[in-house]
Amino acid sequence: MEFYRSHVLVCGGTPCVLEGCKGVRDALIAEVKRRGLDREVKVVETGCLGPCDLGPVIVVYPEGTLYQKVRVSDVPEIVEQHLLKGRVVTRLVGEAPQAGVVKYEEPTYLGVQERIVLRNCGVIDPESIEEYIARDGYRALAKCLTEMKPADVIEAVKKSGLVGRGGAAFPTGLKWSFTAKADADQKYILCNADEGEPGTFKDRLILEGDPHSILEGMAIAGYAVGADKGFIYVRGEYVLSIERLGKAIEQAKALGLLGSNIFGSGFSFDVEIRKGAGAYVCGEETGLIESIEGKRGEPRIKPPYPGTEGLYGKPTVVNNVETIANIPPILLNGPDWFRKFGTERCPGTKVFTLTGDINNKGLIEVPMGITLRRVIYEIGGGIPGGREFKMAQTGGTSGGCLPKELLDVPMDYFTLPEHGSALGSGALLIMDASHCIVDIAECFMRFFEHESCGKCTPCREGTARLHEIVAKIARGEGKPGDLELLDELGSVMQVSSLCGLGQAAPVPIKTMLKYFRDEFEAHINDRLCPTGTCGI
């Protein structure tokens, strides 16, 4: 075993890759070698650290110094000053709140965060199964297989109160129990990694930063419901996720943590990757199943639900990436531990990608029930230029809009719907007062019209009409009654569409009409835009 006095962790998440982290990593390796430090200093590529807006980001241990916006030209200085002489290069450390020291156990440099799902992101080398094992990896699986019955595992997940993190918030333990009860010669576990919501990239960064946690979670699910085969359905664009998952599967098989008779328990489990081809509707669970079967990605009529009749007609559990990443810590630490986080009704944490008009863009994990105000002003560092907050959208285009009236409402899967909004999958798009609400609505409705698969009439026609009406209002051609029509059409789509796409498409427009109706009316009645930005 190699002993190093310093580890340099280079963030290798996609946002940092786009900023040039690969070049920085290569330069670090070369410079460390040139200085004769290569037996003392180890350069490790890791997963997303969170502050995606500040990439490429590196952390030097044992000090835990976080350097931001590191360029290849900065590398010789870091190596000479920090790695050789032990002096922190202060000009690359940046300002509060990211400045200073990252602690291994609690990387709270982005404020009030709780890390369960992201426990290993930015901390381990995601391509090393040993580093995952060092952080208690596969211990939950070992515990389940050697000490627990499948029914106990399901009971623990039920007691934890975990609900699906893909947006629908269905209780995970209950979902598993349907499949466990079903009588079949073959069952499947599917991991939904077809993250299609614009602005959401949390699943991507979880897969890139900690692929083994997904494999472990899926194997535990397989044991609980009696499935010996799993598929991970990943967007084709997620090249790095696919690459790292592939390596992780190979490593797990080599150590016998996937394959037959794991831990001598008689339980066998295998995982394969399936690539999606970029259709939004394939993130819908039955559309995803059709796609894996090699058919056109269109949702099925429900019931029957996948829990009893899913992939190839067999009982199938479909869980989101973030949901699965929660499974190993819940089983290892127990449901009571998990319930300490978040709220009574909605325990645990939520991972968000923080984007838009906000100072600290990036990946965050916060306790359920945190208020939007704290996320924006304590973690996000406020809005650039001190401009006024207008609204936030949770969960990509299909999520609800949160106006400033809801800044202090606890954000969880049950409280937000009570206010006519929704938590969604995990994008948090912040917009300041300079944006026109009609313009934003037009952009969202165009997206849904484009992505509707066309199988059912309410969605195929509904999304087209919603877009048509909003586009007219945006052009200054709106007429009285349009808003009532939008509202009514939305309600029809919500109750009559076949799948989540058509049911969710009216959500943003309905919440916008609820909270920003005056702005729509100004476009229709006065032919003017109150913000003066949409070019009406």
Binding site: F3, R5, E40, P62, G137
Partner: protein, 120 residues
């Protein structure tokens, strides 16, 4: 993998490898790496410490550097800080002395009194 013990063995090994990222209280060896320290041979001193630790398979020690503390005459200067004990500062630590400090102070807990220039 057939047994939980096997997983536990890999876990222990891998934890030793990543321990320095944990920031837990552990023995620290600090080498003065200011210009004066480097000119006096601190680079070789640091290498010798690393080499000796590796040879003896000692994993729970953190080795860091620091700048000039103002005692350029005494460089290379090496501090040994054990949890709960006073900091011991050694002066004029050549690579041979460095190896002996690892052997007697780190491994056996015996401070090498004759090379100590400060203890606080």
């Amino acid at each position: 993998m057939k047994t939980v013990e096997e997983l536990e063995r890999i876990r222990k090994q891998a934890q030793a490898m990543t321990r320095l990222r944990e920031g837990k209280e552990t023995t620290r060896i600090v080498v003065g790496m200011g210009t004066c320290g480097i000119a006096a041979g601190a680079r070789e001193t640091l290498s010798a410490i690393m080499d000796e630790l590796a040879k003896r398979n000692i994993q729970d020690v953190v080795v860091t550097q620091t700048g000039c503390v103002g005692l350029c005459e005494q460089e290379p200067i090496v501090d040994v800080i054990k949890p709960g004990a006073a900091k011991v500062t050694y002066g004029k630590v050549t690579k041979e002395k460095a190896r002996q400090i690892v052997a007697s102070h780190i491994v056996n807990g015996q401070v090498v009194g004759e090379w100590v220039i400060a203890s606080a």
